[in-house]
Symmetry: C2
Subunit: 658 residues, 2 copies
Amino acid sequence: MTTGTESTADHLRAALDGPWGAVREQARVQLAGDEFSGDPALDLGAARARVLDQMRAITSLGLPEMGFRREHGGTGEPGAAVVGLEMLAYADLSLWVKAGVQWGLFGGAVENLGTERHREFIKQLISLELLGCFAMTESGHGSDVAHLETTATYDASTQEFVIHSPTPSARKDYIGGAAEHARMAAVFAQLITGDGAGHGVHCLLVPIRDENGADLPGVTTSDDGRKGGLPGVDNGRIVFDHVRIPRENLLNRYADVDPDGTYTSEIENPSRRFFTTLGTLVRGRVSVGGAAAAGARVALSIAVRYALKRRQFDDPDTGRETVLLDYRSHQRRLLPLVAKSYALAFAQNDLVRRMHLVQTGQDLDPGAQRALEKRAAGLKVAQTKHATRAIQECREACGGAGYLTENRLVTLKADTDVFTTFEGDNVVLTQLVAKELLTSYSDEVRDLDALGWVRFAATMAGDVVRKRSGVRQLIQTLKDRSDDTVDDGDLARRSTQLGLFADREDYLVRTAGHRLRARASDTSPFEAFNNAQDHILTAGSAHIDRLVLEAFIEDIALIQDPEARDLAETVCDLFVYSTLEENLDWYIMHRFMSVERAKAVRRGVNELVDRLRPDALTLVEGLGVPESMLRAALLDDASVFDREAGVAQAEPEKASVD
Amino acid sequence: MTTGTESTADHLRAALDGPWGAVREQARVQLAGDEFSGDPALDLGAARARVLDQMRAITSLGLPEMGFRREHGGTGEPGAAVVGLEMLAYADLSLWVKAGVQWGLFGGAVENLGTERHREFIKQLISLELLGCFAMTESGHGSDVAHLETTATYDASTQEFVIHSPTPSARKDYIGGAAEHARMAAVFAQLITGDGAGHGVHCLLVPIRDENGADLPGVTTSDDGRKGGLPGVDNGRIVFDHVRIPRENLLNRYADVDPDGTYTSEIENPSRRFFTTLGTLVRGRVSVGGAAAAGARVALSIAVRYALKRRQFDDPDTGRETVLLDYRSHQRRLLPLVAKSYALAFAQNDLVRRMHLVQTGQDLDPGAQRALEKRAAGLKVAQTKHATRAIQECREACGGAGYLTENRLVTLKADTDVFTTFEGDNVVLTQLVAKELLTSYSDEVRDLDALGWVRFAATMAGDVVRKRSGVRQLIQTLKDRSDDTVDDGDLARRSTQLGLFADREDYLVRTAGHRLRARASDTSPFEAFNNAQDHILTAGSAHIDRLVLEAFIEDIALIQDPEARDLAETVCDLFVYSTLEENLDWYIMHRFMSVERAKAVRRGVNELVDRLRPDALTLVEGLGVPESMLRAALLDDASVFDREAGVAQAEPEKASVD
């Protein structure tokens, strides 16, 4: 797609678009119209109705099919599906969530946990003939899925499952679609067979509403009502009172119950079965991270463009008012976030590619699925955290204008806010990532509780946990590739930078074991674990940072255009320096950095924002949100916000409150 | 008011209530009813109408009068007025803003900038017979008030001022009350007398609506529409097309125009006149900081109480699920914010007391007004920043429940979000604080632009800027007071702690001059200033931190009850340690702290959250938000969120996704 007439921004956008760039390009055209945008003026009912209409319009765009296998009526392109649906986030995040619930979570459960006998539902759910919801979370248990309380008890006499909510906290909650639109729920429940034996959490399809939208017998739905954002999503609650469904409604890919009530599963280990079941749903986490990052890109596109127009306070050199982005403080608040958006976009592309290879059977490495889950969890955390921070900063960087709904930033903030805690709470997911690092990917210890974990740590050798030949090799390659003669310690060298990220991760993972053991003898296992929790979480974050930098480095190498590549290199430097700056205390305290080098990092951030300032517009154009999809009034109201002279005629006195 | 039956929480609450505790206690009773709460289900029109009704109800509570002088029909208690109105923030922040606009900003302008001839308006505005708005900000200029574009040109032939918006960016914008309710505006405009001479920004009373709410001739109001929050406040825009008002409508306390068009003022220096005018409005900034902190206290009260009920994941020692606040990560995310809320509450009480003394003429120190403005700016920044961060953290700490409007956190977040940028943008205000520090309170340099500033810095001697005998004296007093024999470096000693805060501030202020000079010879003044901007902002923040700690230390000494005082001491330690932790890199890099001491700080935070954990409920009770005013459904829904056992009957397998 490269032609001689493309700008630097075009080249950057193509690089960020990644392997499914054509899908993104097509979506930019398909979704540009007003009909796909959100309308904050609508009340809840109208907002939900609008999103449902938009869903129906999307069924004709070819997007939903991509997520399903050919034999199920799809086109078998999971990577394209994630990327294509992510583009909905530029239009409206309620629409993205609604689509994600229907085709990603509900559809994904039926496709990945169901079998031949559930195939009929897939065509119906692609076309929206069947609207579904994903009823996993309960009021009492969100992060701790294994302890869900809803029961599915098999009754051999009628060959039915009885779905029941035994306690108030067993109520399904926050379920998108449950309040109004969903006719069927993919319900996660404790499976119990006739002899009273429990088999853990399984997923079953439970019809919840009739054709007229009325609750079916035994089902009581209710509305979660207003939320911080996402007004177009009808989140609700479901309580089951001994609801009977046919035996066949168990999604039986990994386990089944025979008519006589015999439970069978190909996977012997109940824990492995549980994680295999959840593992098939990884696409949800991959998608949330992507949509959060997309929201951040929209916000940064608005705030940087505004900062390039808006003037405030005189520059004594020119007598003109100064453009906001010429202030150091404004550069420092926005440009490192732009750099991080680049870094995360590359990391997300890498993640989607890996997911696509695993889910289309092209990656047959037995550890691939598990590595994918860890990476998806880590990048979900990184991207949702980034979105919360970046959008908040953008709102504030636009002052009073940023607070008006017509300028979209507050809507982006409100809509993305839940992303840090849904599809896995960020704290819990960071801990999951860290545990994976600590346990050296060993199946046996994955599901340890605090007790088992502390015991395990006691036997853990320092370097057993390091399976990191990959990063060492990349560092060596980077050293070999560079032919300058600067000494090994030069901070500007990519190998030094990656080395610093990897050293931090290694050190934190290695010493986490010590922290766990430190108080194991004089306190309870929970206390020993808890005593190390902050350390463990930091290790998880350090790992995620390293993955992101690796992806950035690898993707820069693929940029052909020299100007675009040079610019991307500087952006990568800013990402590295500002990430190092956030952890300067750690680097100095653990002797990985001298005080002098730490000061060089801080100076470096200032130098890099200075250097990138002239390319700020190119950089946000490269982020790839089309101007027509920004929908922020302040960018169109040039006579008000983009004053060229704009000082009152009578202004004799020098006085300001800056 | 102390009796033997009071709990530790009662003593803490009394300490935090400060000098106008009786006003707070009364307001807790007066405002507890449903009639003063917000109702997120209302549409914009209904929300605005509800708040206006609430305003009318408040006029009978005795609160509004307190802010006005006796001769104007008030009771002359500005401190009580700020504190009393702040309590509205517990009920609903839209109501607080609406009250602040009417009685604080509009009323304050009339009372403080007007004279005898405007007295009639004050009674009317107290009783709401006259609804007003405060029309300072324009679309083109917010922070840079001196450059407002609206003109007020005197026409001697008719003895009128002509109010005009000469450009699109001269439009008044974001003005609370302008969209619907206000009949009169206090308009800030460039005053021009008949001979065409400009006299800078002055304030004039301009009627904008008739009795029926229709725009008066030449006035065009419009609606800012939906915002991130504050739905009950009718923010709007005003454009003036040669609107004529009587000469007497100039608020003429500091300057006047004679009938023949002669401009007179007691204050010769135009810059000093401008700052004197703005200085009288300091109460607005004092109030915003207080309301932001109040919002944070509500959020922390909800999140900590929830964290004490909500359980998730098994504790292997007990077999029961673990209460959220028993997790180290959860303690670390919430308890330092509670500690900071304590610190800021004491600092705010100190600020309000100072404001009261200045505004009632009890503090006649000529520098007091100016010092008050600096302190108000600094604490406005600290408290609004704290609110944004704390409420966000509380939302996330409550997971999916935190995202539901019925649990209030998202409303608090949305409503307070604009506080960081209104009544002075936080970046601009931090810079103002830093400039004041740098210029050693010298009138002459206060209004320097970048050029003058860099010139000034070139002549500035290292220690001219240090007017800090106060803090040195306090440190010495603390050393004398303590009779333990631990060496001077003991981090647990208050004198050492305050010394670290003060050293940081001193060093940053002293070296800011170097930074400004560093590039003065090889670059333009703006560049030289800009090159130092991040340093200057850090100096401002360090100053604010020191002020807050001083206030905390001084107020602890006043707590009589030994248990409450001990607890407050530990809370103060946590505030100190967590603030030091945020700046660890700086302390090590500038050799104020060894690596070993830095590690002790980090460990100290962990130890302190551990130690405070058992008192968490006492601490939030001490914050002083009555349970009846929390209005978060999750606190009432015990059967769902506060499960005692709550695990499904059938749960044979150990498996979790934590």
